[in-house]
């Protein structure tokens, strides 16, 4: 869990240019981290590459917060 969060956080920090401290499990990509729709699509793409998994469009649409992403990846591993 901790390791997944760490890797997810690094991607979010790189991609969205936010401070690590802002990346909490509750943080919403769009509302709290300044991402637009396309940013979220790109984050999902990077998560797919990082964790070598495929995230379906239906599942991707449900990922709104950092916690959603971490939980999704944990459920797949």
């Amino acid at each position: 869990m901790a390791e997944v969060l760490e890797r997810v956080t690094k991607i979010i920090v790189d991609r969205l240019g936010v401070d690590e401290g802002q990346v909490t499990l509750e943080a919403s990509f769009k509302d709290d981290l300044g991402a637009d729709s396309l940013d979220v699509v790109e984050l999902v793409m990077e998560l797919e590459d990082e964790f070598n998994t495929e995230i379906s469009d239906d599942d991707a649409e449900k990922i709104a917060t950092v916690g959603d992403a971490v939980n999704y990846i944990n459920s797949k591993m």
């Binding site: 396309l38 699509v41 790109e42 793409m45």
Partner: protein, 247 residues
């Protein structure tokens, strides 16, 4: 040469405008994936011609209205060339008839290839181009998509749809360095226009201020411009290559 080392996918590239686009982009230095639906031998000829220019060329059979086939085609192109810089959505068919006589299947077939095909191919390349932070998508529409044309309700609806799709895709992808433009050819001498009867052709010529049909190379050179850095400040546009028919 404006496209040295660029990786290009041209749909419907075995004949007509697509063939000339593939050849022109290769002349500008690009490596080209030649998509075809049925004309395998002709696609292979285009590939051979490109190879004699010292560029790489591959041929890929795929029905652009089939999502799995499109995904496989894009994947293969990226595997072979290691990237994908330029997509030219050119594949198209006609099944002309007056609206009152047009079969539902004729409507569906033309919309599926000419409009849905553009959507599917664009969607399939977007991931790669977003990662690259650059890309060029060029959609071949038609001047009748702007002006309308009796007897081509399906084709015109698809080609007008392509113009709207071009604008929307351009807006969605602009921040990622991807430009999306369309070319709207007028009457160009191809297999598709050869099917028209003489009366129709005479009628057409009257509508063209420049007084002659266009050549596939007229379209190809415009596509090459849109594929190159020369057009970097343009996106969402539809360029008419029609001898002045529609202004």
């Amino acid at each position: 040469m404006r496209l040295e080392g660029k990786a290009v996918l041209v749909t419907g590239a075995s004949r007509g405008i697509g063939r000339e686009v593939a050849l022109e982009l290769a002349r500008e230095g690009a490596n080209v994936a030649i998509n075809y639906a049925g004309s395998e031998a002709k696609a292979a000829e285009v590939a051979e011609e490109i190879k004699t220019m010292g560029r790489e060329a591959i041929v890929i059979q795929a029905d652009v209205s089939n999502p799995e086939a499109v995904d496989a085609m894009v994947k293969e192109t990226i595997e072979v060339f290691g990237k994908l810089d330029i997509l030219v959505n050119n594949a198209g068919i006609t099944k002309d008839n007056l609206l009152m006589r047009m079969k539902e299947s004729d409507w569906d077939d033309v919309i599926n290839i000419n409009l849905k095909g553009v959507f599917l191919c664009t969607k399939a390349v977007t991931r790669q181009m977003m990662k690259q932070r650059c890309g060029r998508i060029i959609n071949i529409s038609s001047i009748v998509g702007v002006s309308g044309n009796a007897g081509q309700a399906n084709y015109v609806a698809a080609k007008a749809g392509v113009i709207g799709l071009t604008k929307t895709t351009a807006k969605e992808l602009a921040t990622r360095g991807i430009t999306v433009n369309a070319v709207a050819p007028g009457f160009i001498t191809t297999d598709m226009t050869d099917k028209l009867n003489d009366d129709t052709k005479a009628e057409m010529l009257k509508q063209i201020p420049l007084g002659k049909l266009g050549e596939p190379s007229d379209v190809a050179k415009t596509v090459a411009f849109l594929a190159s850095e020369d057009s970097r400040y343009m996106t969402g546009q539809t360029l008419h290559v029609d001898g002045g028919m529609v202004m």
